[in-house]
């Protein structure tokens, strides 16, 4: 008996209180049931035909490409930003950190309107881009990448900043005492140290970009092949009464997300 007590104290096991178990089970059901509904309600009979329907693969490829490009952009800009927030003391750092996380809490459609006002043809920067270079962003695939990067970058910055704060700075200090400059230290010591954090952030960032809807439809519009990503295709199919098509598109997106998450999880994302 004393053995059991000892064990339960160590693992925190024993009888789980009903007050926690019931809401936990309800929470699990709440998360899983809708996905189950998608699978149960899927038109399995016509699935092969629907999967090869012309618009489906176009939307899927566009989604994968834009989400990947957005992730690359987020890593290129977000890792330095995270480093700045974690390693450099500067006035207003807390304000900058708050600003970085704004797109996390901002409704994406508001982000889309904001992007239009800055990068639109009459926007603050967009008007200049148009008159100087003849570049207009809205309704282009680039606009999709911009919208996805805007909403997904905070995920990467937060993950990398967390990793940087958790990393042992003594390695960096040792490198510095051995004569390495800050750039060399970052490249040779810091970056390898936080690589798992960067990878985890990139996965989160990619998943968020893949699911982006509100900012995309607002800023990039909707046209098959250039701006109609999978979430837009799902929404428009549903809007137009093509429920089965919407379910199939949702299933594909679900499968892609789960596959990526499952294959990367064990490798890069630390789980207890």
């Amino acid at each position: 008996m004393s053995g059991v007590t000892l064990k339960s104290r160590r693992t925190g096991a024993g009888r789980a209180p009903v007050g926690l178990l019931l809401p936990a089970a309800a929470g699990l059901a709440f998360l899983v049931l809708p996905l189950l509904g998608l699978v149960i309600r899927a038109p399995w009979g016509s699935l092969p035909r629907r999967l090869t329907a012309p618009g489906v693969l176009t939307a899927l490829r566009l989604s994968l490409e834009t989400a990947t490009l957005a992730t690359v952009a987020c890593v290129a800009l977000g890792v330095p930003l995270a480093w700045l927030l974690a390693r450099v003391e500067f006035p207003g750092r807390r304000v900058v950190r708050a600003l970085v996380t704004v797109p996390l809490v901002l409704p994406p459609v508001v982000g889309g309107v904001a992007l239009l006002l800055v990068f639109g043809r009459r926007g603050l920067l967009g008007a200049w881009l148009d008159s100087t270079f003849g570049i207009t962003l809205p309704f282009t695939t680039t606009a999709v990448v911009v919208a996805e990067s805007f909403v997904a970058m905070p995920f990467l910055v937060i993950a990398v900043e967390g990793a940087l704060r958790g990393a042992d700075t003594r390695y960096e200090e040792a490198a510095a005492t051995l004569g390495a400059g800050r750039w060399t230290t970052f490249r040779r010591v810091t970056l390898p140290l936080v690589a798992p954090g960067v990878a985890a952030g990139a996965v989160l960032c990619w998943a968020r970009a893949l699911g982006e809807f509100g900012a995309t439809i607002t800023f990039a519009g909707n046209y098959p092949g250039s701006t109609q990503t999978m979430p837009l295709a799902v929404y428009l199919s549903l809007e137009q009464g093509e429920l089965d098509a919407a379910i199939v598109l949702s299933l594909i997106l679900l499968t892609v997300s789960v596959t990526i998450l499952a294959s990367l999880r064990d490798r890069w994302i630390a789980t207890p």
Binding site: R15, A26, R122, N222, E239, G241, L243
Partner: protein, 269 residues
């Protein structure tokens, strides 16, 4: 080695609890959904009314709604304006609506075919397309053919939305092959792309261009005559307030309702 067994037992208990919970959730949910309908079964026009109407009816129905409320004290009309195809889908999925006003018979048929209409829909107005361009018509658009010029960006409604279906018909009649930059989910979002200056033109209804006359010009074109949309209205079978729903539909069709609609640019059927 006893811990796993305990855990499995717990899992089973959790699953049972979960089933019980979800069952409770289901019954209580439907209970609350049914209760308001019980309270509104009185005679006389009163209570809350939810009207699902095509986006192009936004201005005129908002006006008619206010007039209707004033004429029938105790009523409160709430609108859901969107693309008719989206509204039809929502109604068929069980959205709580009392009246549906569609911008085309096709989307109305989706609802009546599913058995959700109460009685036969009545056509109350007709509407046709114009080309909406920014005020002053900077790109000198004079007809459909101008929309295919290089450097002219056009917003169109998606094909299943009535304004998109009408645009497809008009373009086919004109023999013009147009590649828009975006397919919008309702006519108002197509129009807003013009207002924002993101596109140079959009195919919208005459009424939409007129409602935004301070920002856009509406360019008439002959082929729109072959792509006129009829707007049907129907009371919905699942309406919780049939009396008020019928009164509202009648009000739209009355002289007062029609005067608001024709002033907005709609044509009598």
């Amino acid at each position: 080695m006893r811990a796993p067994v305990t855990r499995r037992a717990l899992t089973a208990a959790a699953a049972a609890a979960l089933l019980a919970l979800s069952a409770c959730g289901g019954s209580s949910g439907s209970g609350t959904a049914a209760s308001p309908s019980a309270g509104t079964g009185r005679a006389g026009v009163t209570g809350n009314l939810t009207v699902f109407a095509a986006a192009s009816l936004t201005e005129s129905f908002t006006r008619i709604g206010k007039d209707f409320e004033a004429a029938n004290p105790g009523t409160k009309v709430t609108f859901n304006f969107a693309g008719s195809s989206a509204l039809a889908t929502q109604i068929n999925q069980g959205a709580p609506a009392d009246v549906f006003a569609s911008a085309s018979p096709t989307n109305m048929k989706t609802v009546t075919d599913a058995g959700n209409g109460d009685g036969t829909p009545t056509t109350f107005v007709k509407n046709q397309l114009v080309i909406a361009v920014p005020k002053g018509n900077p790109k000198h658009v004079a007809g459909l053919a101008d929309l295919t010029r290089a450097g002219v960006k056009v917003a169109e409604c998606a094909a299943r939305v009535p304004c998109g279906a009408a645009a497809t018909r008009a373009l086919a009649a004109a023999g013009v092959k147009l590649t828009p930059v975006t397919l919008e989910q309702d006519v108002k979002s197509a129009l807003s792309k013009v207002k924002l200056g993101e596109v140079d033109a959009a195919l919208v209804y005459r009424t939409d261009a007129r409602a935004s006359a301070s920002d856009v010009d509406g360019i008439e074109f002959p082929e729109s005559a072959g792509a006129v949309n009829s707007y049907p209205i129907v009371v919905l079978k699942n309406s919780a307030n049939q009396t008020a729903a019928r009164a509202f539909a009648a009000y739209v069709l009355s002289a007062k309702g029609m005067s608001v609609l024709t002033a907005a640019g709609f044509q009598a059927p």
